[in-house]
Symmetry: C2
Subunit: 393 residues, 2 copies
Amino acid sequence: MTDSIEQASGDMADRIARVALNQLAEPGNRLIWSLVQQDGAPAALQQLLSGDVPDQALMASVRGRTNQFDPRRFAEASLRRAERLDVRLVVPSDEEWPEQVNDLATLETGAPGSVHHNMRPPLCLWVRGFPPLHKTLQRSVAVTGSRGATPYGLQTTTDIAYGLAQQGWTVVSGGAFGAEAAAHRAALAAEGRTVAVLACGMDRPYPAGNSALFDQIIDSGGLLVSEWPLGSEPLRHRFFLRNRVVAAATAGTVVTEAIIRSGAIQTMKLALGLRRIAMAVPGPVTSQMSTGCHEMLRTHPDAVLVTGLSHVLEAINGGAEPDIPAQDGRDRLDDESAKVLRAMTSNSVSTPEGLAVLTELPLRIVLRRLSLLELAGLVKRRDDGVTRTARPE
Amino acid sequence: MTDSIEQASGDMADRIARVALNQLAEPGNRLIWSLVQQDGAPAALQQLLSGDVPDQALMASVRGRTNQFDPRRFAEASLRRAERLDVRLVVPSDEEWPEQVNDLATLETGAPGSVHHNMRPPLCLWVRGFPPLHKTLQRSVAVTGSRGATPYGLQTTTDIAYGLAQQGWTVVSGGAFGAEAAAHRAALAAEGRTVAVLACGMDRPYPAGNSALFDQIIDSGGLLVSEWPLGSEPLRHRFFLRNRVVAAATAGTVVTEAIIRSGAIQTMKLALGLRRIAMAVPGPVTSQMSTGCHEMLRTHPDAVLVTGLSHVLEAINGGAEPDIPAQDGRDRLDDESAKVLRAMTSNSVSTPEGLAVLTELPLRIVLRRLSLLELAGLVKRRDDGVTRTARPE
């Protein structure tokens, strides 16, 4: 796993510049992304700060922001604060960068000034949680839908997300109430992996009412991901920007229930634009909540009608039968969890403190890993400590 | 309007031969249809009766039947009996033949021996009801669905059929319980036109429980249509043969609710094969009754998802806005109804007996026409007779 602060110092300037650039303009900015691709993030930042950029609107916005803070200092402070809260920064040069989000560079987008114009790949991603981001997203499907999902929509969401998680697919969603929370919860119930991609800082996850759910996601070996540093507010336009990461990070997007003008349908359209599998669940034509799904199926020949898990699996496996080896929890353990597990001997009781010494990991990391191992059924908690379960090695 | 018995005698041999041929083999027979196309119906009949046909299975079946009855006599008796019951025979040379059913000749069908092999156009159609068949079917849509339709399916069926009828489209269906009866009833409620295509003789319409509905269809200016003469039983395989006429006679087929293996889905597939508009209404994925619709939408790229009337109209109008002149009942009056109407003077009371004398039409025809005119709002019934309504000429 990668920890930004422990990187070689050569990378540090790149990391700081990426965080700073994200603070000078909202993520996805087309011009900034081009500058970074061309000259690297530190040079791009320098160009912006010196006013040497041929985009007056962008420069005005940058000047407005640099009057309020020093972007490099802001970035350094963000990274320090993130470390204290177990949040790490992942950048494209890191092993755990999910390469597929770079496909956003291929997205046909709207004219300058339109909301679709600035949909370039992320410069960096903040991540909270233990497993490496790229592996977690390698076999992932977005399951999304309305905040106001009906019982019908919640049922189909739960069925599909549960089944996907059981089959070893990571369920990605946006952490909202309604369908998205149902998707995360179903993945948790299946003891599978789930990732919430947020539109704000992870210290103030939105909606606050789902805070316990977000903690559960981390404890179960899932991840929280955001383009915005700690402290960032969930501004309205950020949800749309966030949706491009959901669509790009996953093999496909399933919309279970949504009205036409909704974030879930936006994500589905982005998935289509990225040549991902875009799936929609039909519903009663008498239900307002299915109008978006029906409209997408009517107007987009590539949109796939799915009535349940088997159709989703068929679509994301390219029509073939799912080809997933039966795996137990160990197959997807991150290095630190494996270290903790190895430090425990069968049939004897370990204490977290003792394991911290043996593994040379911080106690709080050991405690988190133990939660994960317990959820994976590999460790059992007792009054006097923890033991490995009886499963054969 | 055409009455088979009153045709020139030259046509009579053709009519008799067509009825006889339909009795020697089930309608749609590929070889018989080819013979009729090539040499005409009387010669084709002669060929079959003389055993001069290179299809042993067909000849064995023909011999089995000719042992039981003389096909020409059967046909003559059928025509006489039909006349007594106000049922007429319509053949391709008649003005009211619906030319579009001949498109069945273009249908790609299955191998010899398969149920899809014998799907050629009808040789003749028995018709009960007043308006000419071709005009009634000119702007028509099939609305079909399950006998066991749910309340949801009945609602969408009713909404779509009512709206189509209101917009001047004839609603064609098969007269079964459930969705099909709902389609006919909705068209009647809209004071529109509806046609039931039956798989049996019209003197024993199936299901018997819908007999009152069939009478209502006639009384409202609709039609009953069948390929089988009076007395024919609704044998199982006949429903499938019947469905090809429903698909071919109409501009498109809407399936509101159906399981995968159902007659409604067969009709939809035939509509696709005939390059008609094939439409399906989605429903809850939790409902068995929508599985056929969903499967068609998943597997047939040309199948159109419709959530209601506006989508159906959009599809059958080729994407354009409906282009239907506002019409009152008179625009679609058949000749005899127009005759009856002309025989009535405004502001005076006529009796059916008096109108029969004036129009030289049989009393029972006058009574039927008066029912139609009353439903169209052109005639008002009083205790002492009938009057024309106050509408300007």
